[in-house]
Symmetry: C2
Subunit: 586 residues, 2 copies
């Protein structure tokens, strides 16, 4: 088992291998991928499809002198195994040593922490530019998937390197004919033409940017890949190496269903069946139900996603049913949002959904195209909670604070199934505000909720009390309930419990009223405190007679933390909060 | 004077004109442009170059049924004159009625408030999509300049419409061979080829996206433009109409120096000389001096701008001197920042500069590519003050708050020439932090300043006092000095005056120390209060015995305001602040 892989301690060891050993190495790597992914899950298709390419990269080039940049970097597992990190794949005890992305803290062979798409060409061009300033001669290689190419950052970079960078830069375009779901967009028609003509089509997307170009049909053939990379090694200008690969190569279920196997939970190899089951009712599935019902009832409604249909629960069959009421723009958040503004302006009802961490890719469009124009676009964000994704590149904890600085944008933080659905209904149908809704990360709970949110920034008193008011926003509302309960039982009075609902502003009247019989206001939010909801409350009371304590996350790039432990570190467990109240009430 | 223009009250009147009257109309429009621009300035080249196109658009299409979207929209003046707003150009008393951008509040012929580039194709595709959902038949036309094409948002949109929108959309690409300065990037090589072959080059940038394409060489010929637009009217799929125009057409200085005449101050028509002179010493010029000196001394240094060299004072001769130590990426903020991260990673010293309002176009790259990786990129922002630009699309007041939510990013707000230059020196040479520097908008002043900012979030006590502490950030420091002076003279005690310098964090030790002999802390910041500096201070003291009053702008899309009047409305004049202190000190 892993006979060849076990001999690889650095890329130098790869270079010593004979052709047939390289083939065995590829098998070993796939076995190691199975070992890790069946047990802890991770990105499947991208890694299985790129094994031969990354072996060839290390065979031909000389990392870390030559510099590799991995786009998104969720396809860097084979590279990791070849650069001293095989234990993270073959030895279960070491799984946690390796993140699921390239990571400079792990190895000098990793240059960037990368988790968002479309970054590699820009980052690599910077490495190349610095090399040129310093008079270096190393190769700089960006590896980017076809799905990542549609992002504005990658396209801007193609434009730049097409004419401005007149030195070595090798862009490997890994064309596996797939984004996360199927690809969408004109450039993919051209990639198809290029594949069908073995790179000879008259109209060439890459040459149109001024780039040199070479095509390799057999991207899953180590010797073919070694051949093409040897050709471009030490080239004196930027070139695109367009390679054709099979996503999920080596595992039939993944080859056949590339969308489902982009990423996987722990699974049984024999059947492909996931070892973990989620409850049937989830906020993601509720979103899908809402979208399907709304689309059926309202022909003006359209759901839009930048390549993230699963984050709205839209399986391929549901997408097919939606027909023209569903748009996947591929990875193109800026276009998704600006187009939605145009749709809203013309009387349509656009709902854009994606992951919380990705919405910052379109900050300017939300501000300028949508909010200055006050067009009623609804944005729904999944993975918005501090405990939904814990990789440093995928944290949802910054969104509420960052987007609450944009005027006109109404940021809503629902606390239950009923409130979430009512907010969706209201947001999509009203015509007066752009709205961002943070999808709860908690288990689905039910509780009566208002239907009308026209009175912006009206907080809801869920329990009227005295002395202490708890403003528990969105996902942390249940935590607020727990605190309120414990304050009552342990301290002997009934505190006020408030569901703010609106994260982007404050209810000044209510906050003023609280001053009559409260001495302390506690804010709880599932996001960073800096610039967040609690600081708005603190600022309101800052020159008045009211103490405020703000609870939330620190402004920090947390990475792969245990959520419960983090809460304790931050002094945010129910017990810790109640202890604070007890102490200050003395 | 304006004989034909005076007859135009709506686009219907344009359609009635004979060919020679249309020519006179073009002359009238240029005269009207001269009338407004010589007196109040504005965008010159873009409007003079597009007169014939916009006449032809209104002649051929039927606005507002047919829908025009203007990219950046600083070229929409002729359109405005043809849609009932000629008085904003021919009658000085009405100049203020019209903004310098398209504006739905002015006219039903304007669909969006637009001031940032690269938005039109996305916005227009949204109008087209809503039309298709509703079963409409109108034409949707986007007008975009070649300079705007390089932005990610526009490129993402080309990809989408190239294959996904299978209905009417007419994209007029106004190719005047110019961005704000000269264009940079591979796509411009292709545009050159297309112009040289009258649209027949084998490799076609637009066709590579799957788009239909037609070329018109004579974009400044009304009849030629009418001809080509009549050809594409009511087309059933997206098409690019690539037109060749002369930027600044009709005014020799502007035709000869397209960069200088992109935008103009009030000027004398005979000579082109500006009627307003700025002081020779400005923060912009100081930036240029810094860049030139640094580049000469340090071969690792490189200045980068997304098409905004003037915002760093870099005239064409200075850029030529910088050679490979200067990069203009064209309008491509995302690439500029990500490339800078790559440069910094490889040991270079990148300084990226642009306007404050534009930096939000690259929010994700600053967060992910730069800050998660903690690469030492320096970002310098011009027009960062509430009184530098007052158009709603160009406000600099949101930046400090929005970017202070990103971990690792050090946001600096200098208060004098010395401090600004020392901060630049420190930021560019240090290796530990990404740094954003808000260029002061005030007149240049001099005052001793620290050289070392390694101790992040260390505030500077400029005057030690008692009772009241004034934390006056960046551009509002001078206002803090005035308040301190007046408090002393009117209230009879010496307040503490603090120059925070760091906008992205607080000096907890200093804030704690203030509690010994102060009862009130005042924060002043040149930006919105929501999520800003003052709220961090307020939150720090929220459960302690200290009153805090935060002064700053409201979270609001202000438009074309008088800065002094706005300060009064906000209660932020020196007198008003001192009155507050007097009142609370009673």
């Amino acid at each position: 088992m892993y006979d060849v892989l076990k001999t690889i301690n650095s890329p130098a060891d790869v270079k010593k291998l004979r052709a047939e050993q390289l083939e065995t190495l590829a098998q070993d790597i796939r076995e190691a991928l199975f070992n890790r992914l069946t047990k802890i899950g991770g990105h499947f298709g991208p890694n299985f499809g790129i094994v031969e390419t990354e072996i060839a990269m290390h065979y031909v080039f000389d990392s870390p002198r030559d510099k590799f940049v991995f786009d998104v970097s969720h396809q860097s597992y084979p590279h990791k195994m070849l650069t001293g990190r095989k234990n993270g794949y073959i030895n279960e005890e070491c799984f946690k040593d390796d993140s699921g992305y390239s990571n400079p803290n792990e190895s000098e062979h990793d240059l960037f922490n990368v988790g968002h798409t479309s970054t590699s060409i820009s980052l690599a061009s910077g490495l190349a530019k610095a090399r040129d300033l310093k008079g270096g001669k190393e190769n700089v290689i960006a590896l980017i998937g076809d799905g990542s190419l549609s992002g504005g950052e990658a396209l801007e970079a193609l434009d730049f390197v097409g004419s401005e960078l007149k030195s070595n830069l090798i862009i490997i375009v890994n064309d596996n004919q797939q984004s996360i779901p199927e690809v969408h967009g004109g450039l993919y028609q051209n990639l198809t033409e290029l594949r069908e003509t073995k790179g000879k089509a008259a109209n060439n997307f890459f040459k149109a940017w001024g780039l040199d170009y070479i095509y390799e049909e057999n991207g899953n053939d180590i010797q073919a890949m070694i051949g093409v990379l040897q050709k471009v090694k030490d080239i004196d200008h930027p070139i695109v190496v367009h390679i054709n690969t099979q996503k999920g190569k080596g595992y039939q279920p993944a080859e056949e269903n590339r969308e489902a196997w982009h990423w996987c939970l722990p699974f049984k190899r024999e059947t492909g069946e996931a070892k973990i089951r989620f409850p049937a009712e989830s906020y993601t599935n509720l979103t899908a139900q809402y979208i399907m019902n709304k689309a059926a009832q309202d022909k003006d409604f359209v759901a839009i996603t930048p390549s993230m249909p699963a984050l709205g629960g839209l399986t391929p069959d549901l997408r097919a049913k939606l027909g023209k009421q569903y748009i996947d723009v591929c990875i193109a958040e800026e276009h998704a949002i600006a187009m939605a503004s145009g749709i809203a302006k013309a009387g349509g009802k656009p709902l854009v959904f994606t992951g919380s961490t990705f919405i910052q890719r379109t900050y300017d469009q939300i501000s300028q195209d949508v909010c200055i124009n006050n067009n009623p676009v609804t944005i729904v964000l999944n993975f918005a909670s501090f405990d939904s994704l814990t990789d440093v590149t995928h944290l949802g904890i910054f969104t509420m604070a960052a987007f609450s600085t944009i005027p006109n944008l109404v940021v809503l933080a629902p606390t239950s199934k009923d409130e979430y659905l009512n907010m969706l209904d209201w947001a999509v149908d009203q015509k007066n505000h752009p709205v961002m809704i943070m999808m709860p990360g908690n288990m689905v709970t039910s509780r009566p909720a208002d239907k009308d949110y026209d009175k912006i920034n009206t907080f809801k008193v869920e329990q009227a009390g005295e002395k202490v008011a708890i403003l528990a926003l969105g996902d942390f509302y249940q935590r607020g309930e727990d605190v309120a309960e414990k304050v009552k039982s342990e301290l002997g009075f009934i505190p006020t419990l408030i569901n703010p609902r609106f994260a982007s502003g404050i209810d000044e009247q209510l906050l003023s009223d609280l001053m009559k019989n409260h001495q302390l206001v506690i804010t709880l939010e599932d996001g960073i405190i800096d610039g967040g909801f609690g600081q708005k409350v603190a600022a309101f009371y800052a020159d008045k007679n009211m103490k405020v304590k703000t609870y939330g996350l620190k402004k920090e790039f947390y990475d792969r933390y245990n959520p419960q432990e983090l809460l304790e570190q931050l002094g945010m467990t129910t017990e810790q909060i109640v202890a604070y109240v007890k102490n200050i009430s003395k």
